[in-house]
């Protein structure tokens, strides 16, 4: 059925998702939301991979998606862990509250 839906649509969609994710990272200040946005970017990439791998019909893309998912999961875990750790020092989830290092 990919025959009907041209590749460029998928690319467009994933690009949109990716851009939204990126925008989110730039705008949102809540660390958790930022994490979600990063996830979103990664999943946009996943979509691109899948689309391409169907289009080229090569399985590499799909395998890559597995990798990305695993990595993404780990990153979320790390992110949460770091945040929890940080909360022991400073009671906030605002990413810009953590600015003791500068200059």
């Amino acid at each position: 059925m990919i025959g009907q839906v041209p590749l460029s649509y998928y690319l467009l969609l994933s690009a949109i998702l990716f851009a939204i994710g990126a925008g989110g990272v730039l705008i949102r200040r809540n660390v958790i939301i930022v994490l979600m946005c990063v996830e979103m970017m990664m999943n946009a990439v996943n979509l691109t991979f899948i689309a391409f791998s169907r289009y080229l019909d090569s399985t590499t893309g799909q395998i890559f998606v597995f990798m990305i998912m695993a990595v993404a999961a780990v990153e979320v875990a790390i992110g949460l862990a770091l945040l929890v750790e940080l909360n022991r020092h400073k009671d906030t989830v605002d990413i810009n509250e953590f600015n003791s290092l500068q200059g």
Binding site: S8, A19, D91
Partner: protein, 118 residues
């Protein structure tokens, strides 16, 4: 050929402009009268109540993380399951190693006493 991808570029541009503008506008528009309500983190209309520590016991996060990780790792077993018969022992050994590593880390977590709720 390039024309097909113009939208991607455009979208990137729009995204920046969007981000840039929305970061910049607050500095120019409107008077600065910070009060508690304003300086709070706004989550789509819902007020973020309480503080980070009082919300949920820490173990919750840890267990959640562990769940995510172990859950995702399982995902690698699916493709193996599909071609299980064709791969024969080779596949079994490979996956065996993989699982062993998973178990090792599980033991590590366990011995570290992360799973203790109290």
């Amino acid at each position: 050929m390039p024309l097909d991808y113009i939208p991607i570029l455009i979208l990137f541009v729009i995204a920046t402009i969007l981000a840039g503008v929305s970061l910049a506008l607050p500095h120019f528009l409107g008077p600065r009268l910070p009060n508690k309500a304003k300086s709070e983190v706004v989550e789509s209309g819902k007020l973020a109540y309480g503080d980070a520590r009082r919300r949920v016991p820490i173990q919750y996060y840890i267990v959640a993380m562990l769940f995510i990780i172990f859950d995702i790792e399982v995902l690698f077993l699916y493709p193996w399951a599909v071609v299980f018969w064709d791969l024969k022992w080779f596949g079994l050994v490979q996956v065996g190693i993989f699982t062993l590593l998973l178990i090792e880390s599980f033991v590590y977590v366990w011995k570290k006493g992360v799973l203790e709720w109290e």
